[in-house]
Symmetry: C2
Subunit: 255 residues, 2 copies
């Protein structure tokens, strides 16, 4: 049987520990290509590069048996380049993105470059999964994620995914307590509360640092923040048809 063709991206850049970890795991399952940003692209949302060309360079010695490229664009650009140029004419069986250094649960899915790569692949009709770890550390411990990554990737390779979605998978930070299992759940209804720190540069001009924390008032249960807090792996099926079908009728009555 032919090995599945797997394309990997992330938003923490080609130099991150998370993508090397993910590529190592995936290279045991399939034929692996990596196209990842050449610099940090966290919080890039679903940005694409329209106003300038892209630079793409092969990265030698990334991993044995893994062809890896760094790209000057966004995570979504990386998928577009991988699909429409690098692997043009070949059927990509799976796109995986990550492992992100930091959570992409709850509303973070909207801001996440990791998930934009997965969603971009889903738009292209490719089964896709974004993996994120609730640990921002550059040297984060990903050792507890491997068995779940393999399990979830194999399930998706076997079954495909329903049309129009990518999976948003988040892992609890490594702790002494073992992971309890997997919970398939909904996106938590929470939001970031921002503050802006006003500072002055050495030339007397103002600038502002944006900072924030997740304010979670979602107590209805069954969401991804709950699952992670209980030491489960969370999986949310994330869609790119943003239409709120329930709201359609309300708005139709107005006009």
């Amino acid at each position: 049987m032919q090995k599945p063709l797997i394309l990997i991206a992330n938003d923490d850049s080609i130099a991150a520990k998370g993508i090397k970890t993910l590529a190592e795991i995936m290279s045991k399952i399939g034929e692996v290509f990596v196209v990842a940003p050449d610099s940090h692209q966290s919080g890039m949302g679903h940005a694409i590069t329209l106003d300038r060309p892209l630079r793409v360079n092969q990265v030698k010695d990334f991993l044995p048996n893994v062809e890896a490229y760094q790209c000057s664009g966004t995570p979504a650009d990386c998928i577009k380049f991988g699909k429409h140029f690098l692997l043009k004419g070949r059927k990509i069986d799976l796109v995986v993105s990550g492992i992100n250094h930091g959570s992409n649960s709850s509303i973070s899915v909207i801001y996440s470059g990791t998930m934009s790569a997965a969603i971009e692949a889903a738009i292209e009709g490719i089964p896709a999964i974004g993996f994120s770890l609730c640990d921002f550390g550059a040297d984060a411990d990903f050792s507890h994620t491997e068995q779940y990554i393999v399990q979830i990737a194999q399930k998706v390779l076997q079954n495909g995914l329903p049309k129009g979605i990518a999976l948003n998978v988040n892992f609890p930070k490594k702790s002494e307590e073992a992971i309890k299992g997997i919970k398939v759940c909904r996106q938590t209804d929470a939001l970031y509360r921002e503050t802006f720190q006003e500072r002055q540069d050495p030339y007397g001009k103002k600038y502002y640092w944006m900072d924030g924390f997740l304010q979670n008032d979602d107590t209805a249960g069954g969401n991804d923040e709950d699952a992670l807090a209980e030491n489960y792996v969370s999986i949310v099926p994330a869609k790119f048809d943003l239409t709120d079908y329930k709201a359609l009728d309300t708005i139709k009555e107005w006009f």
Copy 2:
């Protein structure tokens, strides 16, 4: 009665004709503040600025009775700055974004900086509308949009919006034919087909221009591309809870 407080952003920058047009229209309805990017931010999706501070400067003589600021960040940053710093403690009654020079119908909603500003406001619980014109020209004719912008904004000010959505409003390009009316519809299931043009810089190094066209095979009717093609204004209620509730049960059976 007190005038409604209206915050305006866009992604084409403070210098665009579209945002000045929108601010002129809105200043007849309410007290208007503008926070817009200082440079072009098209295709920025829901990017936010995490790795550097923001510069924000007041723009004098933008319009009479309109307080306007240019910001070095993304459209979503502009809303966060407007809400949590500039207008801190005040209740914003409406956020409008645009008028975008170019369509944000169909899958473009995902890549759109214009819509990310509106959706960011919706996340904050503020009624929000993104307006876009199917005309990329810097000097596009927006004259046919005013009556609809006023009508839609007034409806939203009167009724609010269902929780969890922003309106994605697109206008046909100005033509000799009059607009037929408004259609409230779903997001078209279409995608961009990209090509990458490989070129060589003067130093012999390769670079790639990404280009694409919208491939629309959605023939099921009732979508925003159909409405625009028939010379209607399209309105899609766009949500930020990406959970695909229909897919939840399918995925749950796997684990």
